[in-house]
Amino acid sequence: MEEKRKKVIVLAEDSKSIREAVAFGLEEHGFEVYGAEDGKLASALFDGRKVDLLLTDYHMPNMNGLELIKHVRSDERYQYVPILVLTTENRKDLILETKRAGATGWVVKPFKVDKLLQTIHRIMR
């Protein structure tokens, strides 16, 4: 039987420690995680690769979360990829901005990886 393809997650987060901790937690649960330290590097990962989920921080150098979401959504191939915003605060104006740009949901930092996984399963079905 053909092995089930691992779900691919692109993780844009400028904090290395969070990036590694989240990637570690997700990889343990069978995801393939591509980390990027800013929006620009993350956007480069959307080069036709099959991506099942984008997790992105809001504040990042070079290209912030909002710009990244806009960039990803501007590509027809990625119009339906779920996007979760990892944000530090419940700033509704920021969250709504990302929502308008095409985000699917958000998770407030600090979060436990379990909570993140729950949310991920929820939006990826």
Partner: protein, 691 residues
């Protein structure tokens, strides 16, 4: 988790460094928006990651600092020297908060820092607009007041039929809502179409929920934040206290039609004490028919996208330094293996071309590995700037720091070791070198002193020069003190360079009262030791009234060196090529005629050290030996050996403490045939034997 906490600590330290650097630049240019953004972002990251990994106090303070810089960023607050100074100080304090088990001291620190940030925010002209930190506190307080007394809300939620298409499952929103407290839920399929029109991909359900919770209206609204544009959502606060216990009221809630929800408020108006104005209690949002957010993919969009994609270049990647060390180590093993191959090729000629090819590739690989482990001195510049800034302020002096060539790259192990000595020299220059302002003016100098740090590559060495235009070192005082301390006799004739060398002796300090600044931690003796440990040396030039200049010379790399393979008696020794100037043949007669071990070549008197004699009581006598002339301290010096073979790339391995005399050697190197050679530390050997 521990592993990630450790990572976070490393990361936080990097953040602190970039904060310092950005702040120091901002100090000269308050309008540098890019750096203001950077500070904001770094504070934000510290806050977020700090909280993730359990550094709550750090997170708490950076939250406030982030608010401060958010206001600076939005120009609600004008950046000024006071804010920058405060932030620099705060960064120092943040370092203390990088602990997991915080005690009272840390908590006190947090209180103080938060108070200071608050006062900066208050002093701003825009203090009337509540800062986000204080508003957050208010929210917290409100919640506390209400912990004993929850509220009940009625929620009606009718998602857009197409909600399932974009991946949202409305059931999860209902789930989330019910996790906020106790709830009763009723689902309605009133709008379910006939079976012929039924589309399984659409959602025809709507929900009514009564929830009793400690949360406020905002939190309830947040649950639906992402669907509110496309859904019909009505939220009504029913009353304080638990409606769920009131069967009658529940029945009423579930029976009314959506358009009647407002009547629920009316019924409660008398019961709900302290109730907010009605407008605040309802949030009605009509489904938006056209999705304004989804722009069609136009040609312009396409172009923009292409631009963005092509603009992305992965110029740099970050690799842990442990990996680089490992890489260097493997390359050095490869070099050892190659010299074995080389040896085989000497007897079996068919291997010769292969061996040569390998040698060439390995040399390239080695250079490449070197390159990777080099980092620019710029990495230390922030520490220099910070020191100059803080110390000159403390001492009430004016000092300008000028740097040149800091982009010069040096082996990272050297940089790691070099920080303290360099900082100590700068500390000394500001403390003892640069004069107080009045004195400078009296002496006809400009008010502001200058410290310049220059770096450049000279051959296989890097030279770092730290100069100040201060008072210079008073050698007569040094002499007095040196005699007092018993380094010299009162009637000795002592040269200036001998006096300067005294500065580096352990236990020597001229300042009567050890000042808080340069009298702390490392002394000049340690500075010299650190530098010689790195196979470097340090020189001092000083002119009274004009200033002092320290010149530090260091090898570019310390683990693999090009050396000359030589023989002394029956053993092999390697002399680093970098320090070799010339090689002369030396006959036994020339040696015999030499006075006090000085020979003359090309009209130059060159003192030499007879290694066969020094290394053995039964030196190997030969008609002709070789003298390898090395440069030391701007002077030439000869090392006499029995044989000179060839150049050899030596992988230097540290020597065990067991081996006596080992201070004369940098380390050992293993030859292709397994023989061990010692690598001579030219500087130390000369220092030891010529003294």
């Amino acid at each position: 988790m521990e592993k990630f906490q450790k990572r976070f600590i490393d990361e936080a330290n990097e953040y602190f460094e970039s904060l310092e650097s950005a702040l120091l630049y901002l100090e000269n240019d308050f309008s540098d928006t890019q750096r203001i953004d950077e500070i904001f972002r770094v504070m934000h990251s510290l806050k977020g990651s700090g909280a993730m990994f359990g550094f709550d106090l750090l997170s708490e303070v950076t939250h406030d600092l982030e608010s401060l810089y958010e206001q600076v960023r939005s120009q609600e607050i004008q950046l000024n020297a006071k804010i920058i100074s405060f932030t620099l100080g705060a960064v120092d304090q943040l370092k203390k908060l990088l602990v997991l088990n915080a005690g009272n001291e840390e908590r006190q620190l947090v209180v103080e820092l938060k108070r200071d940030v608050a006062s900066l925010l208050e002093n701003s002209p825009s203090s009337s607009t509540t800062s986000s930190s204080s508003s957050k506190n208010e929210v917290v307080e409100n919640n506390e007041q209400e912990t004993e007394n929850g509220r009940s809300f009625f929620v009606f939620f009718q998602p857009n039929e197409s909600i399932l298409e974009n991946g949202t499952n409305p059931l999860y929103l209902i789930d989330e809502l019910s996790t906020l407290g106790e709830s009763k839920i009723e689902v309605s399929f009133a709008s379910l179409p006939d079976i012929e029109e039924f589309n399984p991909q659409k959602c025809f359900a709507s929900w009514k929920v009564v929830v009793y919770t400690q949360e406020d209206l905002d939190t309830i609204q947040d649950v639906f934040l992402f669907v509110q544009d496309d859904s019909r959502i009505e939220i009504v606060e029913l009353q304080h206290g638990n409606v769920l216990e009131n069967q009658e009221k529940i029945a009423r809630c579930f029976s009314i039609s959506v358009d009647e929800v407002e009547s629920l408020i009316g019924e409660d108006a008398d019961q709900a004490e302290n109730s907010e104005p009605i407008e605040n209690q309802i949030q009605v949002s009509e489904p938006v028919k056209e999705k304004a957010t989804e722009e069609p993919v136009t040609k312009a969009n396409e172009e923009k996208r292409n631009q963005l994609v092509s603009g992305v270049r992965l110029d740099t990647i970050r690799v842990s330094s442990a990996k680089i060390d490992e890489y260097m180590n493997l390359v050095s093993e490869l070099i050892t293996a190659q010299s074995h191959l080389d040896l085989i090729a000497e007897t079996q000629k068919e291997f010769e071309p292969v061996s040569e090819h390998f040698a060439k590739l390995i040399r390239q690989l080695r250079d490449n590995a070197f390159d990777m482990s080099l980092i620019p001195l710029t990495n230390m510049a922030t520490r220099f700037r910070r020191l100059v800034r803080d110390l000159s302020a403390d001492l009430n002096k004016k000092v300008n720091l000028v740097t040149e060539g800091l982009e010069t790259e040096v082996d990272k192990t050297i940089i790691e070791q070099l920080g303290e000595p360099l900082l100590h020299i700068i500390r000394n220059s500001i403390d003892h070198g640069i004069e107080p302002i009045e004195q400078r003016l009296e002496n006809g100098k400009v008010e502001e002193g200058t410290i310049s740090i220059k770096a450049c590559v000279v051959g296989t060495f890097v030279e770092i020069e730290i100069a100040d235009d201060g008072a210079g070192i008073d050698l007569s005082r040094i002499k007095e003190k040196a005699i007092q301390k018993g380094f010299f006799n009162a009637d000795d004739s002592i040269s200036d360079s001998e006096l300067i060398a005294v500065i580096f002796k352990p236990g020597f300090s001229t300042s009567e009262t050890l000042s808080d600044i340069s009298g702390r931690g490392v002394g000049m003796d340690i500075v010299r030791k650190r530098i010689t440990d790195l196979r470097g040396d340090v020189e001092v030039d000083t002119t009274i009234g004009e200033g002092t200049k320290f010149t530090i010379r260091l090898p570019l790399s310390i683990s693999i060196i090009d050396g000359l393979l030589t023989q002394v008696n029956d053993d092999l020794y390697i002399i680093p090529t970098g320090s070799i100037e010339k090689i002369y043949a030396l006959t036994a007669d020339q040696k015999k005629n030499a006075l006090r071990q000085v020979v003359v070549f090309e009209d130059q008197e060159i003192p030499y050290l007879d290694l066969p004699m020094e290394f053995s009581t039964t030196p190997k006598e030969q008609k002709q030996q070789y003298m390898i002339v090395v440069r030391y301290d701007h002077k030439l010096f000869g090392l006499v050996v029995n044989e000179v073979f060839r150049e050899h790339q030596a992988v230097v391995k540290p020597l065990d403490q067991m081996i006596g005399h080992h201070e004369l050697f940098l380390g050992a190197s293993i030859m292709g045939d397994g023989r061990v050679t010692l690598v001579i530390d030219v500087n130390k050997t000369i220092q030891k034997f010529s003294a």
